[in-house]
């Protein structure tokens, strides 16, 4: 990863995202092999890596019985910052936590807790920020603001590795990496991943979309059929089979079909539903 890059980490539950992030922090040791983080060996140099990274856990893991300011003071002290008071004040300003300084962390809503956790993780100005599903359970507006903050910090040279299940978040990453069973299956920019998947997607508008989707799902050549608002998406790897399926359906309703570029979501559902052996044989490796 290059400095200032935002890299999205995707994959099914249990595909090794959290494990990878924990290894990078030196929280767990790899069973075999090794790796480097910021040019340091993750096994040998864990104590030297720790001051240079910020790790935001999946669950809120600061102290709920401490106030926002006390939590940040604690983090500043543990990292032995030269000017803790100034650092805490600056981060409170930047994260917009001024009004909540003296509120107990346990009383904050999900979105504010996330923001506090982020503040605590970047307080010591790490070079690398590791975020493990940072926005799970947070509303859309708070998620948008959270990502704005991350992009803002990336501009200042912070490198970010973020794991997520949200496609809109994946689309905001400079690079995405798809993991399965601990192995990288696909990586590249969101556009490259979508185009490189070889997936053919058709979109239809009209009436009775749900019924059409149900019929399509059972047909050969259709890997996924789902309704998004007023449109129906049908996707498959085999163009002729997919078109055949759509054609055979047309007697049923007056749907207007046209081909669209595959959405990231289609691609990931396609990847998620494929068995592992098949994925390993996929020749997708076009990292920028």
């Amino acid at each position: 990863m290059t400095a200032g890059e935002i890299c999205g980490f995707l994959g099914a539950n249990g595909s090794g995202k959290t494990t990878t992030i924990r290894m990078l922090c030196g929280l767990i040791k790899p069973d075999g092999g090794g790796g480097t983080c910021l040019g340091l060996d993750i096994v040998r140099d864990a104590p030297r890596i720790r001051p240079q990274i910020g790790y935001m856990t999946q669950r809120f893991s600061f102290y709920e019985d401490l106030t926002v300011a006390e939590n940040l003071d604690f983090v500043a002290g543990v990292y032995e910052l030269d000017n803790p008071r100034e650092a805490v004040r600056a981060i409170i300003d930047r994260m917009g936590l001024v009004d909540r300084t003296n509120q107990l962390a346990g009383e904050l809503s999900g979105g504010w807790k996330q923001r506090l956790a982020l503040a605590a993780c970047v307080l010591h100005k790490p070079k690398l920020l590791l975020l493990d599903e940072p926005t799970a359970g947070v509303d859309a507006k708070a998620r948008r603001e959270f990502w704005d903050l991350i992009h803002d910090m990336a501009v200042d040279g912070l490198t970010v590795l973020v794991s997520t299940h949200y496609m809109d978040e994946a689309a905001r990453c400079g690079r995405i990496v798809y993991l399965s069973d601990g192995k990288i299956v696909v990586q590249g920019s969101p556009d490259e991943v979508a185009r490189g998947s070889g997936l053919v997607t058709y979109e239809a508008t009209g009436a009775d979309l749900d019924l059409a989707a149900r019929k399509l799902r059972k047909m050969p050549g259709v890997e996924a059929a789902a309704v998004f608002g007023s449109a129906l998406h049908a996707a498959g790897m085999d163009r002729t089979a997919l078109e055949q399926a759509i054609k055979s359906l047309e007697g049923g309703g007056a749907l207007v079909w046209h081909e669209v570029a595959p959405e990231l979501e289609d691609v990931f559902i396609h990847l998620l539903s494929k068995p592992v052996e098949q994925q390993a044989s996929q020749p997708v490796k076009d990292a920028a």
């Binding site: 929280l27 104590p47 720790r50 856990t57 019985d65 401490l66 604690f74 002290g77 543990v78």
Partner: protein, 374 residues
């Protein structure tokens, strides 16, 4: 980075202290509990119970009988009321309403006068032997009770013993139970606020996920552990001072030995609890398990240390288990220093087993901490 950092230690200590303060219920319990227990147990528990309910079953209501009943009352152990029938006696014993039933045989006076040595049967509820023990012992002293009423010939002749016994109840001449309870209570309360709280406080970090965060930060395990135990060591000493001062002021607990010596010895006992707490917390996955493990240690400490039951009365194998427990030795130290005025020379033999226990468990704690967290 790798060494111990005072700054990081103080940061964690400050955080722990805020958390202790933010939990008013625990804080109040820490102060109120030992005081409450001391008053409750000090006034309530009595190993030498008096005025036990007894019933009298008799048909004649004769002169000798009255004298005998008066003598029984005068021992202070019996509170006697008459019964009408054997059935009532049986029922009262079964109900637990009476602990003793005194059966005076018919024609008691005449039998005595004739020198027939009639038998007075006393039924006692022995479900709790310690309740009736002292009262039963008091009966032996009543052999001369009738002497004044009896004609010359039948009076009991005092045996002319070639020697005499005299029991001298040292260290606790009034045999006050509270003086026995205070040392045990000090250790129970210390166990609660060091073993339990350390175990829970570390397990809580694991349970709430904050431990993962803590470990990703550059803070050393030793700094976290020390900062976690220091507030509770302070709280433990406050509790000890509270108990000793109240026991001395209210219950007349003598303080015959050196308080600084006691403080040092208790420090060792606290250390043994802390290392054990840390060991438990490395194994326990949640606070429920942690509590159970701490209970597992508390019960034998309660029962086998000599606090609840006489140590020398246990079979040898049980005494061996008892000898392994820090509580057993700490109890001897506290009793020795407070009640007997023992000095370092006398308690040294009890200090090293606690030190050895602490050392062994500390090694296990260090080892298992590495295994599970690093």
């Amino acid at each position: 980075m790798n060494g111990f950092s005072l700054k990081r230690f103080l940061t964690v200590l400050r955080k722990e202290w805020i958390q202790v303060r933010r939990d008013p219920i625990t804080l109040r319990m820490i102060i109120a509990l030992p005081v409450m227990q001391l008053f409750l147990f000090g006034f309530a528990i009595n190993a030498d119970p008096k005025n036990l309910p007894a019933g009298l079953l008799s048909v004649d209501h004769s002169k000798y009988e009255r004298t005998l009943v008066a003598a029984l009352q005068n021992t202070g152990y019996f509170d006697i009321r008459p019964l009408v029938s054997e059935a009532e006696a049986e029922r009262a014993l079964a109900d637990g309403e009476l602990l003793f039933v005194v059966n005076i045989p018919p024609n008691f006076d005449r039998s005595v006068d004739r020198g027939e040595k009639p038998t007075i049967l006393i039924d006692a509820d022995a479900t709790d032997p310690s309740t009736i023990g002292n009262a039963a012992a008091a009966l032996a002293a009543l052999t001369t009770a009738l002497d004044r009423d009896l004609p010359q010939g039948v009076q009991s002749k005092p045996a002319n013993l070639p020697f005499q016994f005299e029991l001298h109840a040292r260290y606790n001449p009034e045999r006050l139970t509270v003086l026995n309870i205070v040392p045990g209570l000090i250790l129970m309360v210390l166990t609660m606020s060091t073993l339990f709280v350390t175990t829970l406080s570390i397990t809580r970090e694991t349970e709430r996920g904050t431990m993962e965060n803590l470990l990703a930060m550059p803070v050393r395990p030793i700094e976290v552990m020390l900062a976690k135990v220091v507030p509770y060591i302070a709280i433990g000493y406050v509790q000890v001072i509270l108990i000793v001062v109240i026991a001395a002021a209210v219950f007349g607990l003598p303080i015959r030995g050196s308080i600084p010596l006691l403080a040092v010895a208790l420090g060792l006992f606290i250390a043994s609890n802390l290392v054990l707490g840390i060991t438990f917390s490395t194994v326990a996955r949640n606070q429920m398990q942690a509590t159970q493990m701490a209970q597992f240690m508390l019960l034998p400490s309660f029962l086998l240390s000599g606090f609840m039951f006489p140590f020398k009365g246990m079979p040898v194998w049980a005494q061996w288990i008892g000898e392994l427990l820090p509580m057993t030795h700490a109890l001897r130290i506290v009793r020795g220093v407070l009640l007997k005025g023992n000095g370092l020379a006398e308690i040294a033999a009890e200090l090293w087993p606690i030190a050895a226990f602490t050392l062994v468990v500390a090694v296990i704690a260090t080892w298992s901490y590495r295994e599970t967290l690093e």
